[in-house]
């Protein structure tokens, strides 16, 4: 196997800020909060950190902060450790984590820090990711694209091909809002109804306001070490069982004649790699809880299928039968997902890791999945340009 991280890396501490429109907190404030919570959780001091990885995707929204690892050095006054900045669209957080894992597994470092941080609301909501996408990119090719618009291409095709209606997409949003109402750190903590969903304005047909995750500030952090040193730090180390990263279609998915607009090959490939490392043969049975990338409701629906939780075309039944709800066979996005937590891009992957770590340690409170021992994180970037899947185990 080209990459094999099984049982080589332990997560010994996690932390995160509350996610929301944190107007009174700057980029550095978010990092300090998340990182120090992780240090305390791991019972380590910052001076013990030997290297760090920073995941920030779009520094332009934050006045260029997060453009280089030095931004993390400044935020924490952590100048003795080498720091790399990682960017891989919305899979930035998990990719930063993945790189840190290789460094630790190689023996180069004993104890390292991974931080995902994104300050999206130091500009107006429209000026942040949405505005950037409209005015950047190729001068004419794909001009008119927006983030919801891209995923709406999938929603149109999926709904048409499998005879699914918006009511099914609504169920994903309703479930994630319900879970989010149990998460004190989520951006949105109120439940929503089908009526509210249907009455909300259309954003990119057929995706409406409640199909889309909000613009959010937030940071999350993880402290990781080599597996044999795990006992030295913190209380309940959680092991990395497998990580897969894949970018099989590149950035021009809508131009690619192979695209079927009902599945993400990147997810399938990343999952296959992660399952191979972690020994997962039947994900529905062997995974107890999962955080997946519901940037839009349609993404969650497709991802049930792409991760092998169910067969293609059966995503609708998966949500409608309550399989992915708390209390179901495989609860998905117990945190509330991107829909309720929001999606500070670089932070999301690390936040998901934190949620699964909490579940596997039995510390998820009202969101706890009983006897969870295997958890999965799914983090998708661009329009399926890149996906990272991580399997963790206790």
């Amino acid at each position: 196997m080209v990459e094999d991280l099984r049982d080589k890396v332990a997560i010994v501490g996690v932390g995160s800020t509350a996610f929301g429109e944190n107007f009174d907190k700057g980029y550095a404030d978010l990092i300090v909060e998340a990182a120090y919570e992780a240090f305390e959780d791991a019972a380590v001091s910052p001076s013990q950190i030997q290297a760090a990885w920073l995941g920030t995707c779009f520094p332009d929204s934050g006045g260029y902060q997060g453009n280089a690892g030095a931004s993390l050095a400044d935020a924490l006054s952590l100048y003795d450790a080498p720091i790399s900045r990682v960017a891989n669209y919305c899979a930035t957080g998990t990719d930063a984590f993945r790189n840190a894992c290789f460094a630790v597994a190689s023996g180069a470092y004993d104890l390292v820090l991974v931080v995902g941080a994104e300050k999206m609301r130091d500009v107006s909501a429209r000026e942040s990711l949405v505005g950037q996408v409209a005015d950047t990119g190729h001068p004419v090719l794909g001009k008119g694209v927006t983030a919801p618009g891209m995923f709406a291409l999938f929603a149109t095709r999926y709904l048409d091909r499998f005879g699914v209606g918006r009511q099914t997409l609504a169920k994903v949003a309703i479930k994630n809002h319900r879970h989010g109402s149990l998460n004190p750190k989520a951006h949105f903590r109120k439940e929503i109804t089908l009526e509210q969903y249907l009455a909300a304005p259309m954003i990119a047909d057929p995706l409406g306001l409640y199909d889309c995750c909000p613009q959010t500030d937030g940071a999350a952090a993880a402290v990781i070490c080599r597996a044999d040193l795990a006992a030295t730090f913190g209380e309940e180390p959680i092991m990395v069982k497998g990580i897969g990263l894949a970018n099989p279609v590149g950035e021009e998915l809508p131009f690619d004649p192979r695209s079927d607009f009902v599945s993400f090959q990147a997810t399938k490939d990343a999952a296959r790699r992660a399952y191979e490392q972690s020994g997962i043969k039947d994900p529905l049975k062997e995974i107890d809880v999962a955080e997946l990338h519901d940037c839009f409701t349609i993404t969650e629906l497709l991802t049930y299928e792409d991760l092998g939780f169910c067969r293609q075309g059966e995503g609708a039944r998966f949500i409608e039968d309550g399989v992915s709800s708390l209390g179901g066979e495989l609860p998905v996005n117990t945190s509330g997902g991107l829909k309720s937590c929001g999606h500070p891009i670089g932070a999301s992957g690390i936040r998901m890791i934190g949620e699964i770590v909490g579940q596997l340690r039995g510390r998820a409170g009202a969101r706890q999945v009983k006897d969870a021992t295997r958890g999965l994180i799914h983090n998708l970037g661009g329009l399926g340009a890149v996906t990272c899947v991580i399997v963790l185990g206790s």
């Binding site: 429209r126 259309m202 990119a204 004649p257």
Partner: protein, 476 residues
């Protein structure tokens, strides 16, 4: 023989009822100027794209070698220094060695371009010339002229060959008459005394040109099947009809009622309509007026029927009503919507655009000579077989089928929602682009679409043209 080898007209999709304009300005509706409707170019069209569409249709009908020259004629060219004829030649994927010329500055520049094209063929070196003309003129909001202006264009291929109409005689007069004018800094057409302009300008000069031509050709007015002499003011037609004694005049032609006066392109656009219904042996007199007049006497040949079979297309099919006068103002950027989303202009790189001009303007994809995969956008390493630099240019089809789409309310634009579509092109290649001219009929996965050249945006003042998809109007 030398003459007209092919032709095509193009009228933009949208129509604004004249009664809507009158209502917007609180004018009583029971007046002649409230009759009918006028054609309004979409927000993403301009004279270049309108002429280009007519040119593409004309060239599709044509068989044989590409033209040796492209002449563009308009009083509303989008740019004073960027040759529209050259852009059209590029988008039509014509050979690099070609003569291009832009005629401007007169409402008769359309007929002048036609005459120049015919002269180039007669005297050499050109074997054939593509003449493309369009106008999207603007009157000051509230001016009566606003209701009679129409947006439209036409293209003619003139040359040596199987002409469907030959030129019997021509006559041109030059006179600087103050009818309509538009100084360089002014977006709006200007005029003064309408009565004076019609009787002493248009009517007098047109009748003089007509008289001189018929004398020259020794033809009696009664022998003419049609006379085409569009006027900026509809009253002008009536005056000429009464005075000329010509039996059949294009007075109540639906093009004036449902399109309007299309400036320099008007005589050419009306001529395409006339030729659509002409019989072999008929004599047609076409007049362009402005800064004098051009008069052209055409004789229809028996090739006209073959052309009709090959290239027939209803000019007015697919027309859609414009929602309101307000929409017209927004389309023409006379009323700007406050758009908090855009703080600057879109990223551009002129070097990038230049490198990619064959891909973006001529719509060249690539085909791998090793594995035959069709690739778009173009790249160096084949995505199917990973062979490097084995990709050869491939001209992509401008028709296809819709794979998926969305109506995006977030992307800023005058016609929100922006429809984004993924299109599988006939013969290979997949395009992800905006849709335009979408009517009330549902956009469906699998529907046939055709590609049209449209304005995307300006950055650094440079107009970015690219291809959009619109619901197909003709059968493949």
């Amino acid at each position: 023989m030398i003459g007209i080898l092919d032709y095509a007209g193009y009228v933009p999709t949208f129509r604004l009822p004249r009664s809507e304009i009158a209502r917007a300005w609180g004018r009583p509706s029971a007046r002649p100027e409230s009759d009918g409707e006028r054609a309004v170019a979409n927000f993403d069209e301009d004279s270049l794209t309108v002429a280009a569409e007519a040119a593409f249709r004309c060239l599709r009908a044509a068989e044989g070698q590409p033209p040796d020259a492209v002449y563009f004629a308009s009083t509303t060219a989008p740019d004073y220094e960027r040759s529209a004829a050259t852009v059209i030649a590029a988008a039509a994927d014509l050979p690099r060695e070609i003569r291009t010329a832009d005629l401007a500055g007169s409402l008769k520049s359309g007929t002048s371009a036609l005459l120049a094209g015919l002269d180039a063929v007669k005297g050499g070196p050109a074997w054939s010339v593509l003449v493309a003309s369009a106008d999207c003129r603007l009157a000051e909001p509230g001016e009566t002229a606003e209701a009679f202006i129409g947006d439209g264009g036409a293209a003619f291929l003139v040359g040596e060959g199987d002409a469907l109409a030959t030129v019997e005689a021509t006559c041109s007069i030059a006179e600087d008459f103050p009818g309509t004018w538009r100084p360089g800094h002014d977006p709006f057409v200007r005029s003064d005394d309408q009565k004076f302009a019609v009787t002493h300008g248009y009517q007098r000069i047109v009748l003089e040109a007509m008289g001189r031509l018929l004398d020259k050709a020794k033809v009696d007015p009664q022998e003419l099947a049609s006379v085409i002499c569009p006027s900026p003011d509809p009253a002008g037609f009536v005056a000429v009809a009464k005075a000329s004694g010509v039996p059949s005049l294009f007075l109540d032609d639906p093009l004036m009622r449902s399109v309007g006066f299309t400036g320099a392109a008007s005589p050419l656009l009306l001529l395409t309509r006339c030729l659509d219904r002409a019989e072999p042996g008929q004599l047609i007199l076409t007049l362009g007026y402005g800064g004098g007049a051009d008069a052209i006497l055409l004789s229809v040949t028996d090739r006209i029927e073959a052309h009709r079979t090959r290239a027939s297309r209803d000019l007015l099919a697919g027309a859609q009503p414009l929602p309101s006068y307000l929409t017209y103002l927004q389309f023409r950027d006379l009323l700007r919507r406050q758009d908090g989303l855009r703080s600057g202009e879109p990223f551009t790189s002129l070097t990038m655009l230049w490198r990619e001009r064959m891909q973006n303007l001529a719509l060249h994809g690539a085909k791998c000579s090793k594995c035959e995969a069709v690739v778009f956008p173009v790249r160096r390493v084949c995505p199917a077989c990973t062979t490097r630099d084995a990709l050869e240019p491939l001209k992509l089809a401008r028709r296809g089928r819709l794979v998926t789409f969305t109506k995006d309310h977030l992307f800023p634009g005058p016609a929100s929602p922006t429809v984004m579509a993924v299109v599988d092109l006939e013969g290979g290649g997949r395009l992800f682009t905006q849709m335009t001219d979408c009517g009330p009929e549902a956009i469906r996965i699998g529907m046939d679409v055709e590609l049209v050249l449209r304005r995307f945006h300006e950055a650094k003042g440079y107009v970015h043209y690219f291809w959009k998809a619109k619901p197909a109007q003709t059968r493949p």
